[in-house]
Symmetry: C2
Subunit: 217 residues, 2 copies
DNA sequence: TAGATTGTTAATCGATTAACAATC
DNA sequence: TAGATTGTTAATCGATTAACAATC
């Protein structure tokens, strides 16, 4: 259980913790003693080893001087702190290609989420099965959300539909929205929104390509 | 044209520039004089106005004291610096749901990209049309890449297929990879990789949900 | 002109890294 | 024990913000 007053981890720390977690999970050769050093993690991710120790200290993991960190403790603590051991209900709103792709993602359970509904406004899609989920009518949004105590809604709808749907979802009790529509949602401040902006990715890549080209002129 | 020695803009600056660009594009009421102040941008994005001026100065935009910034100049400069006026060829490798969703994205042209191929290894898919693109055989990857001078490859394939495909793509001349597969690609340092990690998004949301819950205990 | 807004220098803040003592 | 690795304090670095002069 987390101490009440612990300050929020910021985004970059969260992201590094996820990378540590993935690295340890995917590391081919586990040492038989179940130990990993901050230097090993740091080298792999091209970070300073002090930073790794600071991050682990921030989530309360203590290592053993002269030995290293207990791998299982690191993994268990990250899971605990990040909330992977919880089971929050999630819905996907918008059963198009992207919504379907996300519905097929097998990682929800691993990160503490349980997908309980895939909705679409297009009645001709309702009842069909996508990625193992029967498409539900958007008119059932409120009922299903309340019945399942939905915490997270994933929005994969056209831009113009996003804001009104976000409002319905929030009214039905959702506390977090993962928004894949290209609009900035206006939400109450007690609701977390993560906006996944595909254009930022494209822009970053375009910029690097342009720089490469310019450099060799 | 960009000065040769200008230092690379870092990720957060790039991202803010994109937000400025979007804000100005989507701003409902354009002032008739075509002027915008750093404070207006800053207020909307909840930033300090000095930061906006610094960012604009970093890409070479000069404002007029007592007046503001010329909206058209800001937009034109961001487009120019970020490379939106270029036309780089891009391919999508993996014509599954996610690849199809990306192929349907209308924003490529806006950000200097031109989608020239959608590939899949599954021969039963080859020849079908997805989002207006005929699915090509992966065996044609090298030929199509070279013929079109492909700069960017978007990888939407299973994890285990990503690394070998990245190597083929790079050998065929690609300079940037947008990787949606959940693996860290190993690439030469002159190739840009942007790894889109869906699990980081989920983890961040799980963390915030957990904190909310813990706080009210 | 007076006043509003930019541009720039200095101060602050926070995150990262370096140094090194503590420890097993 | 000696040596390796952690934990922590101090130094550094870079990004953001504050202050204010320049300007039209």
């Amino acid at each position: 259980m987390q101490k009440a007053g612990r300050p929020a981890l910021n985004k970059v720390v969260l992201e590094r913790l996820m990378h540590y977690y993935h690295f340890i999970n995917s590391r081919g050769t586990q040492r038989p003693d179940g130990i990993i050093s901050s230097a090993e993690i740091a080298n792999h991710l091209d970070l300073d080893d002090t930073l790794v120790r600071k991050d682990l200290a921030a989530v309360g993991v203590r290592g053993r001087p002269r030995v290293g960190f207990d791998t299982a403790t690191v993994q268990r603590t990250i899971r605990e702190v990040l909330g992977f051991n919880e089971s929050y209900s999630a819905i996907i709103v918008g059963a198009g290609r992207l919504g379907g792709a996300l519905a097929a993602y097998q990682g929800f359970a691993k990160y503490g989420m349980r997908l309980v509904g895939l909705f679409d406004a297009d009645e001709s899609r309702v009842g069909s099965v996508q990625s193992g989920h029967t498409v539900l009518s958007i008119t059932d949004l409120e009922r299903v959300s309340r019945e399942n105590d939905v915490h997270l809604a994933i929005l994969t709808v056209p831009a113009e539909a996003a804001q009104p749907l976000a409002e319905r979802i929030i009214a039905a009790g959702a506390k977090a929205i993962w928004n894949f529509a290209p609009v900035n949602l206006v939400v109450p401040e007690n609701v977390t929104v993560r906006h996944e902006h595909i254009s930022v990715g494209l822009a970053e890549l375009a910029y690097h390509l342009k720089r490469r080209t310019d450099d060799r002129r």
